[in-house]
């Protein structure tokens, strides 16, 4: 689809509506001189020798610009509503049938437990890929009881799934603020400045130690990066399904973190071995030998223990803080 008015109206108007076009052109090494001429005119007057030097042809530039605009405009359309996610069992690593058919709804938290190498990440990957019997597990995933359009698989605009992985490292040479800004721009959020400030503030509420917006992302501590990533996911991601790979092992308030993430009506799946997080879930999938071996629905008896677990956890936390501040543990 070609957006004729964008090409025909004065460039000033087009750039005012779509400021990211300027960045797009500069990513190809082109500079824009703003004028009352149209985008079409700007493209027409580009020197073919210059394009040749930049390793670019007019046709390719046109095609890329159209694709780019289509992607950016798609970001403005609302997401289709997701009412359910269904996992239909395949087979485990020994080829035995996996007898499950499980439907998850928005607002539900499902925990995934099982030994290392058992296939927790594979299950998350099957969901991300919206598997249709075409992965090693043979599982099938339905959205709203139907085989979804394969556009889900490759769309970067309307991602079905947002992931929070275990790895929290950064290598980019950016400050925390610049990084979140760039992420927000790629998502085309409205009011990016405001969003970025809010994310940094929320991240600081989760992290034990405060950090400043101008801290390079590479200098953040493990807990700080994790807090930043959780706030980023909670406030920037529009994906209706969230996959979380273990949020326990870092110096952050994990209950607050989980509450931030499930605040919106998302379908949440979380690989975890943390008893508190596991009891906060609505059910647990037990993975063994590559297959879902058991589904445990949360029950009241278990939930009643949550309070006791939290007390125990707070006691441990208090001890940890005492060690941090240099006290001894001779008296418990």
């Amino acid at each position: 689809m070609r957006h004729e008015t964008l090409y025909q109206q004065p460039l000033t108007a087009t750039l005012a509506e779509h400021p990211y076009i300027e960045d797009f052109l500069s990513s190809f090494g082109l500079t824009v001189t703003v004028s009352n001429n149209s985008l079409e005119h700007y493209l027409d007057q580009l020197n073919p020798d210059l394009l040749e030097d930049l390793g670019l042809s007019r046709e390719q530039l046109n095609r890329s610009l159209d694709d780019f605009l289509n992607g950016m405009l798609a970001l403005r359309k609302p997401l289709d509503k997701i009412e359910s996610l269904t996992i239909i069992g395949g087979r485990n690593k020994s080829g035995e049938e996996e007898h499950v058919e499980l439907t998850l709804q928005p607002g539900e938290v499902t925990c995934i437990v099982g030994p290392t190498g058992s296939g927790k990440s594979r299950l998350l990957a099957d969901i991300e890929w919206v598997a249709q019997g075409d992965t090693p597990t043979g599982r099938r995933i339905l959205i709203n009881d139907q085989v979804p359009d394969s556009q889900w698989r490759f769309s970067t605009e309307h991602k079905l799934v947002a992931q929070l992985s275990q790895n929290m490292n950064f290598v980019m040479d950016l400050t925390a603020e610049e990084f979140i800004q760039m992420h927000a721009e790629s998502r085309l959020v409205t009011n990016p400045q405001e969003k970025v400030a809010h994310i940094l503030e929320q991240a600081n509420l989760l992290a034990g130690e405060q950090f400043r917006p101008d801290t390079p992302v590479t200098a953040l501590s493990g807990g700080q990066s994790r807090a930043l990533m959780i706030a980023d996911m909670a406030f920037l991601s529009k994906s209706p399904i969230a996959l979380i790979d273990e949020i326990e092992n870092a110096g952050i308030d994990r209950k607050k973190a989980l509450n931030l993430l499930i605040r919106e009506e998302k379908i949440v799946l979380m690989a975890t071995h943390d008893p508190i997080l596991a009891l906060m879930g609505d059910r647990r999938l037990v993975i063994k030998n590559g297959g879902i071996a058991k589904v445990i629905e949360a029950n009241e008896t278990e939930r009643r223990n949550l309070q006791r677990l939290e007390e125990m956890d707070n006691q441990l936390l208090a001890l940890r803080n005492r060690i941090r501040s240099g006290e001894t543990l001779e008296q418990l």
Partner: protein, 231 residues
């Protein structure tokens, strides 16, 4: 025979990704050939041979490897065809960001890694900007958000491509990539095909072996930097 060109900056993970795809293709009982193009040296052919696929290697030596690639790829396709390969994959290291081995109507893959820096996608020419599939590797080393930011920078310079994150070591995502390989261009010959983008015009005196520095030795296609200060 399905034929794909795979290119990307040195050490971006091309071989690792191709090996993971080969494993998945072999599980589906396909016969595979690989051609590796490089400049001075490569051990990739040994890695491929270990997987039991047919391998050819071409070292361009004093030539630009992409120029060398175009002069030889037709022969490679014939070789793959004669050996009854179901898939032929060419791997070439993009050494000068301006050349690209991608051919019109032949599925073109570019492999780039998350560690190369936010501005790298902008600096790579047609090799990335005209690819059909862009594979981003080494995502295990960075956070999810950084992967997304990097992918959006790639998307900006090649908005029409399918962009996939693959882990070259564990193979995570390779299964999904393989399903794209299965719908790659199916061809018998490269006769009549054209490059997606012309390669830089070389042919100055230095191309022809000149080593002495100085105005009087420079002939042919010579271009000068502007040494005036910018206003």
């Amino acid at each position: 025979m399905r034929f794909l060109t795979v290119s990307g900056p040195p050490s971006s993970g091309k071989t690792s990704v191709i090996l993971r795809v080969i494993e998945a293709l072999q599980a589906r009982r396909h016969k595979i050939g690989v051609v590796k193009f490089d400049c001075l040296l490569t051990d990739d052919d040994a890695l491929y041979a270990k997987k039991g696929v047919l391998v050819k290697k071409g070292l361009s030596g004093a030539l630009c490897p992409d120029h060398y690639f175009v002069s030889n790829i037709e022969g490679c396709v014939t070789w793959g065809k004669e050996n009854d390969c179901d898939y032929l994959i060419s791997e070439s290291a993009g050494l000068c960001n301006r050349c690209s081995p991608h051919i019109n109507d032949i599925t073109a893959v570019c492999v780039i890694d998350n560690l190369s820096g936010v501005n790298t996608p902008r600096k790579i020419g047609p090799m990335l900007k005209s690819a059909d599939i862009v594979v981003i590797t080494k995502g295990d080393i960075v956070s999810q958000a950084e992967r997304e930011v990097f992918a959006s920078r790639v998307k900006q310079v090649n908005p029409g491509a399918v962009i996939m994150n693959i882990n070259g070591i564990t193979g995570q995502g390779a299964f999904e990539l393989t399903s794209l390989f299965e719908s790659a261009s199916d061809i018998d010959t490269l006769k009549g095909k054209t490059l997606r983008f012309s390669m830089p015009a070389a042919l100055c005196s230095y191309c022809l072996g000149e080593t002495r520095i100085g105005e009087e030795y420079q002939t042919g296609n010579v271009r000068k930097m502007d040494m005036e200060d910018n206003k």
